[in-house]
Symmetry: C2
Subunit: 383 residues, 2 copies
């Protein structure tokens, strides 16, 4: 697949150009057009992604555990593919290759339905991936691109619960809600990333500052960036002035609670709605909390079960935070930006689930499998 | 909970009597009335079930794996409860206590909606379980019995996708389809148990006979009993006469394919529909197949992804069967009747999933949990 894409660079770019021409005619924003453009460098990067996925361990056939029963039966759980996976996504054509690679690696078939703005690019990528499957002796129909862009086609697809095992929508909250509401197939949902960093009373201040600046500013437009910093009142007077300065120096606009504004009056006032906000931008909230318990309560009320970090030097605090916060990723002394499949060591990522079934948090190839029980006997019958 | 139920035996039986009186007035079959009756012995058995669940390992907090990243981050996956689980079930009042015990053991809350015929019994059991929770310092509302029996109440419950994480229906196929079609909450589905035993060419005949007789007759009315026996043509002439005799001696009515009837003419003819049938009775099908491949194809076409067994002395056949059959439980040389949570070593069972998300096959307390990522750092930030 990787080789095929690189070899077909000219063809891919010529098909992509047609998408771009049409997008320009439709008056799409330049930033959006940039997102859907393919260049030789971007195609190389897509190919590299496929090569990395190819190099991962094969999850299928892995025996995740095995035990022996008192009657001598050996019982185990073996990973198997889910079957057919449907991916519904917006704009970026790289998703076509990324998602197909992850599904094929995990032994699944995939039906891809991308945005209308990149239909020609997606069909061209699909064509090349299918050819590569054929050359490798795999059924080419295990990758299929939906060739129509009407929303009714998506609705039709979402009703095929006898044929498709799982739907993964990738895109904005609107797309994900539309899919979740209309699907009779299980959906892996990722709604929002309202991530928190809690700076505990015992935090090492320079570490706390560096983690908060990184979590907010290293790439503010993504779901695992920090939206709200919670600061223990015992350390607020010392920490807030330096933290706010460091953040403002990086161009961050800050809103704060009353206590925050007593200490750093230049901060704007945060409204109730702000605490729920996924800014995806250089904007954030600060709240001073009484203690770890109040920090956890804040996260429960306003968070989105994505990723939360505590910065602390206290052993008991670290354990309490890990145990009592049930977001999909809970960290001690590390930037929220590490919450992604590649950084956590899953090898690659098909998405992040913020609901608890069938996976919770970043999903790699393993999360595209299920397990069956295998049993080895010697003629045992039940009494 | 177990103590409470035993202590309240008189109260439970008096409430149960009201259900039984009403069932008699409604003219319910005696066999159905027997299923819903509580006796001191049955209450003892329910209490024993709760004690067994209490003795299981606590799944919550288990770190299922942990690894270290090149940057020093330690990353793990920790089991956490799902949240609120909804159980929708028919008649038997023991499900009320069984399901509540498994949900509480796995750290979840549970909303129970049983059949109208046992409403008073269920409410009485619920009352005692809630009291026990309170005495143990747990929130009594973590077990709730829906006090109304209208179907509209179920429909209402199935729309609470912001509050309930998972729905588990227990009962006939009609109930399960109704729930699956109307739920916006993920549903663990168990449609049918059309289980197969494939007797390979190299099978040890007495073992094959004993496994098939056990799989069909040890308890024919349950989902993990055998419905169809597939026999390799190379062994059919030798095996079929003795197997059919052994089965008929146990009262089994047999339908067979053309080749089966050539060898044992007393067998009735199986129709195309028979191969899909879950008889739940002393009735079964026999088909002679060309080879293992055709057995696997038969299972794929007519099976329900529940449980299949191969009886073989051949190493290659055993491995091929284990690898190529993707039912939820695949066995070598053991009766299909072992396919249940207790027999496989899960300690207890909340049901069997025959679809692949979020669990596949028998489900114990672990399957009522999910995992979150936990990350221990030393101040790492992302470059």
């Amino acid at each position: 697949m990787a080789e095929g894409l690189v070899k077909s660079t000219d063809y891919l770019i010529s098909e992509n150009d047609k998408d771009i021409d049409e997008a320009k005619k439709k008056g799409l924003q330049n930033s959006l057009i940039d997102r859907l453009a393919l260049t030789p460098e971007r195609i190389e990067k897509i190919a590299l992604g496929l090569r990395q996925v190819a190099a991962l361990n094969d999850p299928v056939g892995e025996i995740v555990r095995m035990w022996t029963r008192p009657n001598g039966l050996r019982v185990g759980k073996m990973r198997i593919p889910l079957g057919v996976i449907g991916i519904i996504y917006e704009s970026r054509p790289n998703v076509t290759a990324d998602a197909a690679g992850l599904c094929i690696k995990s032994g699944n078939s995939v039906i891809l339905r991308g945005g209308s703005e990149t239909l020609r690019s997606n069909l061209a990528i699909g064509e090349i991936l299918r050819e590569a499957l054929k050359e490798s002796g795999l059924p080419e129909d295990s990758v299929q691109i939906v060739p129509v862009t009407e929303r009714s086609a998506v609705l039709e697809m979402l009703k095929l619960d006898e044929l498709i095992e799982l739907i993964i929508p990738r895109g904005g909250e609107g797309l994900i809600r539309f899919v979740a509401e209309n699907s009779s197939i299980p959906v892996l949902k990722h709604y929002k990333g309202v991530c928190h960093v809690f700076v505990d009373e015992s935090a090492e201040l320079s570490m706390a500052e560096s983690i908060c600046v990184n979590a907010k500013t290293q790439r503010p437009g993504v779901c695992n960036s920090m939206e709200t910093m919670l600061v223990h009142r015992g350390i607020a007077e010392e920490f807030l002035p330096r933290a706010v300065k460091a953040l403002v120096d990086k161009g961050v606009v800050i809103k704060g609670c009353g206590k925050t504004r007593e200490i750093v009056p230049e901060v704007a006032e945060a409204t109730e709605n702000d605490w729920y906000e996924e800014y995806l931008d250089l904007i954030m909230n600060i709240r001073v909390v009484e203690d770890l318990k109040q920090a956890v309560e804040h996260i429960e009320q306003y968070g989105s079960m994505h990723t939360e970090t505590i910065v602390t030097e206290g052993y008991a605090s670290s354990q309490e935070f890990i145990n009592s916060v049930n977001s999909s990723t809970v960290m001690v002394n590390a930037s929220t930006r590490f919450s992604d499949g590649f950084e956590l060591g899953l090898g690659a990522e098909i998405g992040i689930s913020t609901t608890k079934l069938h996976a919770f948090g970043p999903m790699g190839v393993e999360e595209l499998t299920t397990t069956k029980f295998i049993v080895f006997g010697e003629g045992q019958i039940r009494q």
